[in-house]
């Protein structure tokens, strides 16, 4: 890789000779303003915002498509460049409406930010602005406002290059140029909502999040998408203890800068849904009744003791974290003493693609197997457990959060159990058959790790508080409202549920059955996993960090990737 030496604003930097000026500057922390350039898209060079002066070149050049050369001297802040930038901003703002008060992009808008940083602050334009269509549903999940568009073509290039479908194009000429879909088409590809993230202005906005909250009112928590085994890195936007939107976080090893619409829309609403399990429930006279934790735990402990070891089976969960599954498998092996432990796979054949989507619809099937949710010697696998229930050999089942009854054929089998205890976040078809339902914390309410299909460990972090957690005390991300709300402000709180992490519930049941696990926090569980499971050796929450880390060795687990 030949490197060249260039000088940007007086600092000499070394850069790969294939880089453009904007890339080289970015790698060294020098920010050159830009609208149309995006690190993951081809260079278009139409916004002219990244104009810089290069010595010995007669005219200013755009940094996004000028390759670096040895001895190049670049100025990004001198008078000539500032003057040119002001002019570019003035042109962009001529026809841009003053929509900021009603625009969802406000607060994270490149044009807004650059207007503060690089514009003169006043307009010399007296004539009428060009009017174009507003409030257009350009696709099922995306709203389009033609007036706000600055014609950077990022969305066009995204559809062509990343999503691989040609759905967007510009029509007309001059200041009447307008973005549109091809005749009869909609912006409906499975990755359509990424255009919302890359749109530098509020022309393309999220239809689902439309007018829900202002950006500055939310806190943002780095976590992992639960939609499939890819484990896209995402941010949760939370206000008043309610998740309002998901946005992708850049991680070149996992999801580049993107995420799919399914993950973005369908994996967070259950957290604040009406049908959340708000407290542990025990079946009394055929009805599930909310009870205290102690009562539910002692009921489970006494019931499980009354069965023979061979009559009990346990199902971990590919939706639960490594910590949950690890404590669960220890509980099953050491306390229940059964070898019948496995977890249900949720593979939808043919649902994967070459971009992000995986056929495995669970976020942690690799991790569940890795930490020991596998049948012991002579123990039953998932199919055998189901057969066992059908034949009456298995009489009691303990399952972590997973909607088992939704798996075809299982709804008829589960009622045959004499005792069925399940962890659940929401009421679902499985909780209907359960004798005890433990209120499990959803992925946005707990700490933990998950392993994606590449065998990469990644962290999930809590963003929504349960009754046992406190936003300020437990290290949550805080919005301004969270920070300053007092106890008598009804806002800044939102509904909280009496849910607990599954590992904590399992440890409680184990204690009631006479075995104490000495875990206080999720990272204590993780530290034990690190000591006992070979592939996790040497890891810690700190090392996993925000972008995850690959597991040391790949154990021979049949991962349906």
């Amino acid at each position: 890789m030949p490197t060249v030496k260039i000088t940007i604003d007086g600092t000499q930097i070394e850069a790969d000779s294939k880089r453009t000026i904007i890339e080289a500057a970015r790698e060294h922390g020098i920010k050159i303003p830009h609208f149309c350039w995006h690190p993951k898209l081809s260079v278009s060079g139409n916004c002219r915002m990244c104009l810089v002066e290069i010595e010995k070149m007669p005219k200013l050049a755009i940094a996004c498509s000028t390759q670096v050369a040895d001895g190049m001297v670049v100025h990004t802040k001198n008078d000539r460049v500032v003057h040119a930038r002001n002019a570019v901003m003035e042109f962009l703002l001529i026809n841009h409406p003053l929509d900021c008060p009603i625009c969802d992009e406000a607060g994270e808008c490149k044009l807004q930010d650059y207007t503060y940083k690089y514009s003169t602050g006043y307009s010399r334009f007296d004539e009428d602005k060009v009017h174009k269509p507003k409030r257009i549903q350009i696709g099922p999940h995306v709203m389009f406002d033609a007036e706000r568009c600055i014609l950077c073509s990022r969305c066009v290039r995204f559809c062509d290059e990343i999503a691989g479908v040609h759905q967007l194009q510009f029509i007309q000429r001059g200041d009447h140029t307008e973005l549109t879909t091809f005749p009869g088409e909609k912006l409906d590809n499975p990755y359509s909502m990424n255009v919302v993230d890359i749109c530098p202005v509020g022309a393309l906005t999220n239809a689902d999040f439309r007018f829900k909250a202002r950006v500055w009112e939310m806190s943002f928590t780095d976590t992992i998408c639960q939609g499939c085994a890819r484990g896209c890195n995402i941010e949760l936007g939370v206000r008043n203890n309610e998740i309002l939107r998901l946005t992708p976080r850049r991680n070149d090893d996992v999801n580049s800068s993107w995420m799919c619409d399914h993950g973005r829309l369908d994996t967070f609403k259950f957290v604040n849904a009406e049908n959340r399990i708000k407290a542990p429930m025990v079946r009394k006279d055929g009805m599930l009744v909310e009870v205290g934790w102690d009562e539910a735990i002692s009921r489970v402990a006494s019931e499980l003791k009354s069965f023979k070891k061979s009559e009990v089976a346990a199902l971990g969960s590919p939706f639960a974290t490594n910590e949950d599954n690890y404590v669960f498998q220890r509980f099953v092996k050491e306390v229940l003493g059964t070898k019948n432990v496995d977890f249900a796979r949720h593979i939808v054949e043919g649902s994967e693609d070459t971009i992000l989507l995986r056929s495995d619809k669970t976020p942690n099937s690799a991790g569940a197997a890795e930490v020991g949710i596998v049948p012991g010697d002579g123990g039953m696998s998932f199919d055998a457990i189901i057969e066992g229930i059908r034949d009456g050999k298995i009489k009691a089942l303990y399952a972590l959060e997973d909607d088992l009854a939704a798996i075809p054929g299982l709804a008829e089998v589960l009622p045959k159990l004499e005792f069925f205890v399940v962890h659940a976040t929401n009421e679902n078809s499985t909780t209907r058959y359960a004798d005890v339902v433990f209120a499990a914390a959803a992925y946005a309410e707990k700490n933990g790790t998950m392993v994606n299909f590449q065998h990469r460990v990644q962290r999930i972090r809590p963003a929504v508080t349960t009754l046992e957690l406190d936003r300020a005390m437990d290290g949550f991300e805080m919005s301004r409202w969270d920070k300053f709300a007092s106890h008598n402000d009804k806002w800044g709180k939102g509904p909280r549920r009496d849910a607990r992490s599954s590992w904590k519930i399992v440890a409680g049941v184990a204690a009631a059955m006479g075995t104490k696990f000495k875990f206080n926090t999720a990272d204590e569980v993780f530290n034990e996993i690190v000591q006992r499971v070979e592939s996790f050796k040497g890891l810690s929450y700190l090392k996993v960090g925000k972008k995850g880390t690959p597991l040391k060795t790949k154990t021979t687990v049949n991962v349906h990737a």
Binding site: C100, P101, I102, A106, F211, R214, W216, W481, A485
Partner: protein, 167 residues
């Protein structure tokens, strides 16, 4: 205590006239009596009401124009409020402004009448009125929703005119 009292030093060389105090009493009475004939300025509240000038910052209200609030729920008032008194939830409307406040709540216990919300408002939708009678018996009563905040534009015209010329 007694020691302290005895420690008060009295001027010893007072003249006879001074010791009689009569001129001083006359002086004082002269002032008192003269005040009896000057005009009074006490307002007999609540029988009489103080009419504040247009520059007065009373409770913040939302301007209602043609039966609709001007507010577009941009949330700037909520952001700028140093006391975090304002909560806004936006919703979508079929009107041209696209956005309206589904919920607009000011906690009048928190409000400090600084007028920042009025200053920051891009639509001149929230302004400080001339109303100053704000007493509550319950904290819940101090939560002013849209029902209490919306005021027809005619009633706040003086303040709007004041803002035109003085901002």
């Amino acid at each position: 205590m007694s020691e302290e009292k005895s420690a008060i030093i009295r001027k010893k060389d007072l003249s006879l006239l001074e010791r009689m105090y009569i001129p001083e009493i006359v002086k004082g009475m002269k002032l008192t009596i003269s005040q009896m004939f000057t005009p009074t300025f006490t307002t007999q509240y609540p029988d009489e009401r103080f009419q504040p000038p247009a520059s007065f910052r009373g409770r913040p209200v939302l301007v209602e124009e043609n039966g609709v609030e001007r507010c577009v729920a941009c949330g700037l008032c909520s952001r700028v409020c140093p006391a975090l008194a304002i909560e806004v939830q936006a919703g979508e409307t079929d009107l041209g402004k696209e956005r309206y406040p589904e919920k607009f709540e000011i906690n009048m216990i928190r409000c400090i009448f600084c007028g920042f919300c009025e200053e920051v408002c891009p639509e001149e939708a929230i302004i400080m009125s001339q109303e100053y009678e704000l007493a509550f018996t319950k904290p819940q009563d101090a939560l002013f929703g849209k029902d209490k905040l919306l005021v027809p534009i005619e009633k706040v015209q003086t303040r709007l005119d004041f803002l035109r010329t003085n901002r």
